[in-house]
């Protein structure tokens, strides 16, 4: 299990970067938006996986931070806040603050108890947003955001243009990847992983488990908040469905599908999820039975997630090959 970014993957990343830049100029408007949404969900899933894959905590309430980020940004923009980046930043901070509170209580628990407790907190946030009609718009949410133009070096960029927003999201997507991959490769990340592997032993070395877990929880919440803010801007709305437990399930599904123990697993999972859904809904509206029918074998035959298992298989082959050379 290697959390960091290796040299080989740097080349891959460069290629991916090139594709990312060229893409909106070759595909149509819808696919530009399709990829935009995948990147947003990719940020969300990556943020979730810092907690799940690297710290060993399965959060089932992560949509709370996604939602808080989204609602904060939407609330500001709907009331005529003039700056998009600042709205996103404040959304992110609000999500981080929510994560401090929820994390403070939640990180004492482990495993399934942690999962259910975060689910409970997540649903409290959902209820709050759903019931507080005067501020959050209740079940209707905050809709019809008007986006202020973004000033970049003297240019005024119209954010509502799908291509412009694609690049904004791509920027955050890359920043998220850079920051999170740095974090997991740092000594902080190593401690998180050792907590995941063996909590007791790590505690013996004098490390404050709770503090590290909380830190991981908050960082994870911050990035979920970024994703939520971008999502609200992308959809011109914040709706309670962003905070429902079914929304918390999405990054879980994507991460497990792609592979929790490889850095890009959640991104691959997000891509797979969207592509599978897109293809299925193309020819049927009884999509659930097909989605389920595809998920089940994927889970059974890819024990480390799709990317995780493929990488492990290649690595296994290489080891076998080198073993043969020696003989």
């Amino acid at each position: 299990m290697n959390g960091g970014v290796t040299k080989r993957s740097v080349g891959l990343v460069a290629a991916a970067l090139a594709v990312l830049v060229v893409l909106p100029f070759v595909v149509g408007t819808y696919f530009t938006m399709f990829v935009t949404e995948i990147m947003i969900m990719g940020i969300f899933a990556l943020s979730f996986n810092l907690l799940f894959g690297y710290t060993g905590l399965l959060s089932f309430g992560h949509a709370a931070f996604f939602g808080v980020g989204g609602y904060m940004a939407a609330f500001l923009l709907i009331h005529g806040f003039p700056s998009l980046p600042l709205a996103l930043l404040l959304g992110t901070l609000a999500a981080g603050l929510a994560a401090v509170v929820v994390g403070y209580f939640s990180v004492r628990l482990d495993e399934i108890y942690f999962a259910i407790l975060t689910l409970g907190f997540g649903m409290m946030f959902y209820t709050l947003v759903h019931q507080w009609r005067s501020v959050t718009g209740g079940s209707d949410g905050l809709t019809g955001l008007v986006l202020p133009p973004l000033g970049i070096g003297g240019f005024q960029v119209d954010v509502s243009s799908p291509r412009a927003f694609y690049f904004i999201v791509a920027f955050f997507f890359i920043v998220t990847i850079l920051v999170l991959s740095r974090i997991v490769a740092s000594s902080f990340g190593l401690i998180l992983m050792s907590i995941r592997e063996n909590k007791e032993r790590t505690a013996f070395t004098g490390i404050n488990i709770r503090a590290y877990r909380l830190a991981s929880f908050v960082v994870s919440g911050l990035f979920a908040g970024i994703a939520g803010g971008l999502f609200a801007v992308f959809d011109r709305m914040a709706s309670p469905s962003m905070l429902h437990w079914t929304a918390s399930a999405e990054p879980v599904l994507m991460t497990v599908l792609g592979g929790a123990h490889v850095f890009f697993g959640p991104v691959v999972g997000a891509v797979l999820f969207f592509v599978i859904e897109h293809v299925i809904t193309q020819f049927t509206d009884i999509w659930m039975i097909f989605l389920g029918g595809i998920l089940i074998p994927l889970v059974i035959f890819f024990p480390e997630g799709v990317l995780g298992t493929l990488l492990a298989r290649r690595r296994g082959k290489r080891f076998k090959g080198s073993g043969g050379d020696k003989a």
Partner: protein
């Protein structure tokens, strides 16, 4: 005062149904270590099978006998073909897998029975009402109040007194040891999963005369069942009973005293219990 009493009955009878659904979930978790997301869908299947049998034969008691057996059979197929490869993997894989099962079952039900709603009538001798504290009260709800503890007692006896029950309890405490003393763990697991599915089926069948039977009715119940088994103590039998009663009563009294907060109450309760008793109220470990 009479309203307080009525809502006590309402809460307890809701609790009984939650209990029937949740014990299957908690037994499966206790023995197999699997958190079954599709458990609510098995409950839904129970209700649909009940509807099917009743509309064919007009015999509710026959349906009560048959529908859960069919659910158990489907449970057996799910366990044997799908769950077996993922034992021992992280709980998230089991959630994802059983989520896939949930999706398939939800749509299968829609394809077979359509997307509309169906209702089932209770048998004539349970269909009436009695007068209680100034209200009319359905006999069928009293029947639920009666049959819930009966099934609970039956299960208690089964686990305490029969060989199979003891085997299951042994396996739920220590799987390796159980295998060591010659218990066929594979067969036991299939049996336990079918048993849990059967209980979900019983819950669905008993709920059928009270509920509108429609697509995705299992998704509503699954989160409540998770809450019940976790606040009671995962794998704990009396815990599931206690958790179900608490949730049922909270629902009933919440509607009466705190109508604006009913949506949040179960989650607030969940958080308070987990933060004070991290393994649930009646867990085996603490």
């Amino acid at each position: 005062m009479s309203l307080f009493f009525m809502n006590f009955l309402n809460g307890v009878s809701l609790g009984m149904l939650l209990f029937l659904i949740s014990i299957g979930l908690t037994i499966i978790f206790g023995v197999l270590g699997v958190l079954n997301f599709a458990h609510g869908s098995l409950y839904m299947l129970g209700a649909y099978f009940c509807f099917q049998f009743v509309s064919l034969s007009h015999n509710f008691l026959g349906a009560l006998l048959l529908a859960p057996l069919f659910v158990a059979l489907i449970g057996g197929v799910i366990e044997g073909t799908l769950l077996r490869p993922v034992y021992g993997r992280d709980v998230s894989f089991q959630l994802l897998l059983t989520f896939g099962v949930l999706l398939v079952l939800d749509d299968a039900v829609r394809l077979i029975w359509g997307s509309g709603y169906h209702i089932v009538d209770p048998p004539a001798f349970l269909g009436g009402v009695v007068r209680l504290a100034g209200f009319t009260y359905p006999v069928y709800s009293l029947f639920i109040l009666f049959i819930g503890p009966m099934i609970g007692l039956g299960l208690w006896g089964f686990f305490r007194l029969t060989l199979w029950g003891k085997k299951i309890r042994a396996a739920s405490m220590d799987r390796e040891m159980a295998a060591g003393i010659g218990i066929d763990v594979n067969r036991l697991f299939t049996g336990v999963f079918m048993f849990g599915a059967w209980l979900a089926g019983v819950g669905g069948t008993l709920a059928a005369p009270l509920r509108a039977i429609g697509p995705s009715m299992g998704e509503k119940i699954i989160i409540e069942s998770f809450i019940v088994v976790v606040i009671g103590g995962l794998g704990s039998f009396p815990g599931a009973f206690l958790g179900a009663m608490i949730l049922g009563l909270i629902n009933a009294y919440g509607a009466q005293y705190l109508p604006k907060a009913t949506m949040a109450l179960p989650y607030i309760l969940l958080a308070i219990i987990l933060l004070t008793k991290p393994r649930g109220l009646l867990s085996k470990e603490s």
